[in-house]
Point group: C2
Chain length 395, copies 2
């Protein structure tokens, strides 16, 4: 009667969403301050003041028909020029407005890019742990997702495992650094090694293999860690970006796709991006926020709060006996469960009112994800519960 | 290397867009006031003042993290409740928030609904003339578009033609009233006849056939014409709506899908809608404008300006010898070309600086579409050109 596949996708809520709903129910029962909800990746630091200032000024002074009117499908030309100039200034590449396509956020950037590239039988590789919606987006495009495990010690790319995963069917690789859920930033050495393998495989198979850089967390890094800009390491690179995290605007749905000017036949790729956006029903990105972003390029929400949260949580948890990957970026702490089954561990944690996401759906069983994009005070209040949970496991 | 189908979709610009780009070039050459651009369906009446007031108030007084945060994928529950209550009050149906899914505009409403419903081999029927993107959206879902010609006299549904178009593969029918490009509002009698055929065919084939009502122009009607609410005529109805025209917010991308509570297994359909939205990369509709719309439900941009434009243009053109369908709604005048080939006629009209869209891509050769969502003054200035064009054809 209807698409059973879509019914299934619409019915099987993610484990994250389930935990979040449980948390809301539990908060109603015992009080919001007694539940330590670490489930969602929703920014907890407000947008920089320039966002509100820009929106107010635009609403007060711009012509409404222009402000709320359609932009071109690829986004306002002025905005695209500004973004290109910013990227060029930051990373020494040579993009123009014609390399940029403004999207309705990171999920749209990915679904559009994947649909633009996919031909029958194509495979995309990503690295575990990975954002579970990658599988949904890749399958929507008609391709298959191939998962390459990361190095279990540090969750960097395991290039040996990766090389074995590449086949003649590999159309592209999705890399997410800083990573959700591990918080790991892939090192420059590992990037070079990855790109070397890709170059070799391109020659071997005689067709391009695209590197899709999903980087909504690019600006959320700590202690001066650098996130290499992939276009400088590999020509066939497509960057999928979103302002959801950097400007704390996840609900406003705005991001972009940048096609490297050094990619093979980049104009053709860009045309396919335009076609895929049209085909998926994306008419243009929200027009007011296109103008807001144009006035806020280069601004970032106050990252020092996330850093403070990270330090507090990482230091406390390692002291209590947890094994954690020390995150260099994003706002997630990836923690080894204190028993083999992460779902059982997450259930146990609930007894201490701790809501921790079991990471099986991220492709890495035996871990939980802790989103520390919460108030510092919530973390402080939760520490005795984390300590008690560790003690329950004999730590 | 990439999807050739997407390259083609991204490269072949629509005839509308081509004409619009030509117009911009021509305006630069001879002055904006000398070119009579009737190509685009972009509202020319600003949003009602309540939109700006709501946006300013929200930006000044609401918590930014909530205002710009993710809403649930199906949209803010409060907004959905308000829309349901409004629809129920207007049309005597019994929707709740759970029947509504907020989207990123009408194109998203359609792509999501089609993807939710489509199983292999499905067909969707629509009536010529039709919005050309329907074909793109139906094909994206993996279905085929079947076109039923309308009655050439009045562009109402030709029920005889329609009945022959229904097959065992028909999954649904897309109805667009008020219609783009004809401006026709389908009469209640014709709706009843259509729904009677659908009921009969459902019984005959033993499966539901869905009626998808694409109605972004519902409020843009003149002289008290009524647009029947399809849920009151047929149970398996899904309404696709957008605030682009009624609130003059086409760039902000906000609309909804409403699944009739009388549809067969409506909860399953709704789940498929949620799944399709997820699969296509729609995370949520823009959050600020979800709140703005919640405060402006039932408001409409000043339709009297469009009516004035319609009367002026319709009366003048019929006086000059053009044969026009008198539009009851939307902001388009559908005019018979003065020679057989509408493309040749559109080219001839350019010599008089009139930009009229040849309607071949709408499935109705021999007509042009005139978008009268322009300033009344532009119409007044254009009348001598329309008269001269008619005279050139011996009228």
């Amino acid at each position: 009667m209807v698409s059973e596949k879509m019914v299934k996708l619409g019915t099987n809520r993610s484990v994250i969403r389930d935990l979040f709903e449980y948390g809301n129910q539990r908060k109603a029962e015992i009080g919001a301050d007694k539940v330590f909800d670490f489930s969602l990746g929703n920014p907890s630091v407000p947008a920089p003041p320039a966002v509100r200032e820009a929106a107010l000024d635009l609403l007060q002074n711009e012509d409404e028909l222009l402000l709320h009117g359609y932009t071109s499908a690829q986004g306002d030309a002025g905005l695209r020029e500004k973004i290109a100039a910013y990227i060029n200034g930051q990373h020494g590449v040579h993009l123009t407005a014609d390399n940029l396509y403004i999207t309705v956020g990171a999920a749209a950037s990915l679904t559009i890019s994947l649909k633009a590239l996919t031909e029958e039988g194509d495979e995309f590789i990503t690295f575990a742990p990975f954002f579970p919606e990658y599988r949904v987006f890749v399958e929507n495009a008609g391709a298959s997702l191939v998962v390459a495990d990361s190095d279990p010690e540090d969750f960097q790319i395991d290039c040996g495992v990766f090389e074995k995963a590449v086949t003649a069917h590999t159309k592209g690789v999705i890399l997410n650094s800083p990573n959700n859920p591990s918080g790991v930033v892939i090192t420059e050495d590992r990037i070079r090694e990855l790109c070397g393998i890709l170059e070799k495989k391109q020659r071997e198979y005689g067709h391009p293999i695209f590197l899709i850089s999903d980087e909504p967390y690019r600006e959320l890094v700590y202690d001066g860690v650098k996130v290499p800009y992939l276009m400088n390491y590999y020509d066939n690179t497509i960057v999928c970006y979103s302002y959801s995290k950097s400007l704390s605007l996840p609900g406003e749905r705005i991001g972009y796709i940048a096609v490297s000017e050094k990619a093979a036949e980049w104009k053709k790729i860009y045309a396919a991006v335009c076609g895929a956006g049209r085909s998926l029903g994306y008419v243009c990105a929200p027009s007011l926020f296109q103008q807001v972003v144009a006035r806020c390029i280069g601004q970032t929400s106050d990252v020092s709060i996330y850093k403070k949260n990270r330090d507090l949580l990482y230091n406390a948890l390692t002291e209590y006996g947890y094994r954690c990957i020390r995150p260099d970026g994003a706002f997630y702490l990836f923690v080894e469960a204190l028993e083999k089954d992460a779902n059982a561990f997450s259930a146990k944690a609930r007894e201490y009112e701790l809501l921790l996401v079991p990471a099986d759906s991220f492709g890495t069983p035996g871990f939980v994800r802790i989103s520390y994009c919460v108030s510092t005070e919530q973390i402080e209040r939760s520490l005795p519960a984390f300590r008690a949970l560790a003690e329950a496991y004999g730590k």
